[in-house]
Subunit: 322 residues, 2 copies
């Protein structure tokens, strides 16, 4: 019988998994496998509902020669917000690649997607952010804005943070939640304030227009763009990618169709040949930040190999406990 | 929390679900909805494995305005046969169409696919087979060959059965299993014997070449072809479809690409315009068998709406028990 693991159990298990020793290395290993062509990721399955409006996405894939394959089902039913309930819903199914059998069902309610996204952000910063971080800027005072900050601390030392949000209410909540973890947190409603004060910037909003302009970006800045994962969404002025010394993406094929890179390619500001995959950066020192004054951008749109790796991390920890 | 239901529990629940009152009507309702364009069925997702060889198919869909949507995951890992284990593996996930949440996980190991296929066979016979059945012929002495016979009894009265198989061993096992249920069972290794003695024939083999020839088929015969669900598989000489007074299919769009109809269309023996969907037959008396001497063929390739309906049947019965 396959194990069925609910969100409370997943959070409990996560407490015993070291992000530095286990999660980030697994995510790195996943990106490397992906960039070496060792990951099979079929097209995303999609179902659209009209009444009530909703959508379901099915993402799945496997690393060749690995023990498992993963199917992730994620839905958004947006009218639930009206009754104060989470609109997103999700689960991951881990199967054996040796015999096809279901190994475990992770009813993670999209929580593991948040974790693997934060771990990808940390991976990007590990190889691309300046070693000495002046101040960290976060766009987006939601869950991902919190998680990215938490994970960034595993790869860089810093204390000072400026957070941008859409209103002072959410900013105060962010400050209340995150200050006790040892951060010194300022808040702002103005993007320029982040651009001129921060050497590491992480954008995690659902914005459809740029929050940062190219002329605001100072030398020595690293930006990880997490929010835009569709062709419509955009957090960075596309000219920032042209200004950058390095443009790194999680998936060249996917970033041609969505995210920041899509806009920059469309406008002819970068060429496909300028793009480097994070999986290649991890294994090749020449592709990592080479000087303090470089501007680097990493565009993350989310790839199924991250789901594969985070599911495996949970299952390995669960199995050890049993 | 979603309910997790294993194969033993599913078999237990099925004992309390009346096939005549519940399962066949739900399957009929599903075909009707499908043929009326009220079912959304996105393209099937597929993952292929090389080492060990295996495949995974993800089928999903929903009836518009219904309470649920269903995702079915089915795999075949063929090396498992070597160690004497079932090569197929499967589960169905039932979600709410109102809020996207997972309702239940049916770890049915493909058993519900067998049931819904048998119920589709019964539905075809209900509207297309002669009222008086002389003798029933079954091609294929496997699980589906057993189930089709069991379900046929819900829509027609008969006792005499001839079963065709590939060796006398499997035929003896079939006879041993099915005779105690009240059937008088003969076995044969020759298809002609079935053609010349049976007025209802059900083919449920994985054959890649015809088991029945057009000149063998007598007037007044109904054939339901269940086995061929890929472009390669074929159980009927394509000329049988030309000879038939009625050619009924579960899905016109799908049968253009796979199953018996695919071969007959390819060879120009039938035209797309000759095809009628089972869902239309159910609601239109003019499309059903009109005379005792008609030859009728129903080609079933399997559509996701059957999975939707059988999952709902199980869940409804489970919920009533709780």
């Amino acid at each position: 019988m396959a194990a069925v693991v609910n969100i409370q159990q997943i959070k409990e298990v996560l407490k015993n998994i070291d992000p530095v020793e286990v999660i980030i290395p697994l995510i790195e290993e996943g990106f490397v496998a992906y960039s070496q062509g060792r990951v099979v990721v079929p097209p995303v399955g999609e179902m659209i509902f009209e009444d009530p409006p909703g959508d379901v996405h099915i993402k799945y894939g496997y690393i060749k020669g690995d023990d498992y394959y993963v199917i992730k089902i994620a839905s958004g039913f947006y009218e639930k917000a009206r009754i104060g309930r989470a609109t997103g819903h999700g689960l991951m199914l881990l199967f054996s690649q040796k015999n096809g059998e279901l190994v475990c069902i992770l009813q993670d309610e999209a929580y593991l997607t948040n974790i693997r996204t934060a771990a990808a952000g940390a991976t990007a910063a590990k190889y691309l952010a300046p070693q000495k971080v002046r101040r960290v800027g976060i766009f987006g005072a939601g869950i991902q804005g919190r998680m990215q900050l938490g994970y960034l601390r595993f790869v860089r030392e810093f204390k000072d943070v400026i957070v941008w949000g859409i209103n002072s209410q959410e900013l105060e909540a962010y400050k209340r939640d995150m200050a006790p973890l040892g951060f010194s947190i300022q808040t702002t409603l103005y993007g320029e304030e982040i651009a001129s004060n921060c050497s590491v910037i992480i954008t995690c909003t659902p914005s459809k227009k740029p929050l940062l302009q190219a002329d605001q970006i100072r030398r020595g800045t690293h930006i990880t763009a997490v929010g835009a994962d569709t062709p419509e969404k955009q957090e960075l002025d596309a000219a920032i990618l042209k200004k950058a010394n390095r443009v790194v993406v999680d998936s060249i094929s996917q970033c041609q169709l969505r995210g920041e890179t899509f806009h920059a390619l469309q406008q002819g500001l970068v060429k496909k040949g300028d793009l480097v995959e994070l999986g290649a950066v991890i294994t090749n020192k020449n592709l990592q930040r080479a000087a303090d004054d470089e501007i680097t951008v990493c565009d993350l749109t989310g790839v199924a190999v991250q789901d594969i790796q985070i599911s495996k991390a949970i299952w390995q920890a669960l199995r050890e406990k049993v």
